[in-house]
Symmetry: C2
């Protein structure tokens, strides 16, 4: 029904999924997201539309699948020598990527998928994994580390809220402020 539960990983199903996903990425780059249709994607992928409808149900689910893949971080967070520096760098990059036109589109597409299939949850898991990696590294240095839940509440959630609901009120200064709050070096109500 989706990219999950591919019963035959090495077989034709896998190839079809791969070529369809690739077709989505290609066509999105060429024509823009709003021009995508199932028949168009299917033709580019070399399959029939009915195959896409059977496997993904509708365009939303397909785009949701592809969007989540794009939101997956491709590398562990960079090491800047201290938790504060690592967190700031990660948060700023996160905010920049997610608040771009493309980033917001991916997030919205990911949220559109069936909640039961967990595409949205996967987005959060990606951020949590990155934060956990930062924390483990900092703990190795002997630094005190807030737990991941706290970082999600204090840094990620406010960033995502602004990205989705108040895109004009996002800035590097605000991001740094959130990191400061998370590390206990400034009050939640300090200047923004």
């Amino acid at each position: 029904m989706s990219s999950r539960a591919t019963t035959r990983p090495g077989g034709r199903s896998a190839r079809v999924q791969q070529s369809v996903h690739q077709a989505v990425r290609d066509l999105e780059a060429e024509l823009g997201r709003d021009a995508l249709t199932v028949p168009l994607i299917a033709a580019r992928a070399g399959v029939t539309p009915s195959t896409v409808y059977r496997r993904w149900g509708d365009l939303r689910e397909l785009l949701s699948d592809v969007a989540v893949e794009r939101l997956r971080p491709d590398a562990p967070p960079a090491d800047h020598g201290s938790l504060r520096a690592d967190l700031e760098a990660w948060a700023v990059q996160f905010a920049e990527e997610m608040s771009s036109t493309a980033g917001r589109t991916y997030i919205r597409d990911a949220l559109l998928g069936d909640p039961e299939q967990g595409n949205a949850a996967r987005c959060s898991d990606y951020a949590a994994e990155q934060l956990k990696a930062l924390g483990v590294r900092a703990a190795g240095r002997g630094e005190a580390v807030p737990d991941v839940e706290t970082l999600l509440d204090v840094v990620v959630a406010p960033l995502m809220y602004r990205i989705l609901f108040r895109p004009s009120d996002l800035s590097v200064a605000y991001t740094d402020h959130l990191v400061g709050v998370a590390l206990g070096r400034s009050a939640p109500l300090s200047p923004r």
Copy 2:
């Protein structure tokens, strides 16, 4: 192009918009959100599909408009005698309403509209208004009041993050915890 900028408030346009919105609400209750189509809505509203397409562009924009209207609070927040009680009650109700299947759908639909038209920003404004009303009332009692930005960061954003990305990790205990953090009575990393 949308519910905004209705040039002739008392005229036919207004009646059409009203009947279309009502048709969306009725059909959504009867058939479920996924069964909605423009022709169906238009038939129920007594207009032709082309009218809907011309005024709203597509189904997404129409649903976005209707969703935002539903998210508008219908009354000022209840008065429970103290800021803490008011905030807790408001936050719990907010979380309950928004995390319901219908609530999540409304939020997702609202996010789907054209970002330039500010349907998403309006959602945030509604919450900000309610929080501001709470704050003004508490200040009238002589209580110290966190500013609205802080409450959005500490209470609303984490709630919304869980509603959208981690619906299974939302609880009244968590909501109360967030309110405690906002009022400075517990650390961000206390038990959840």
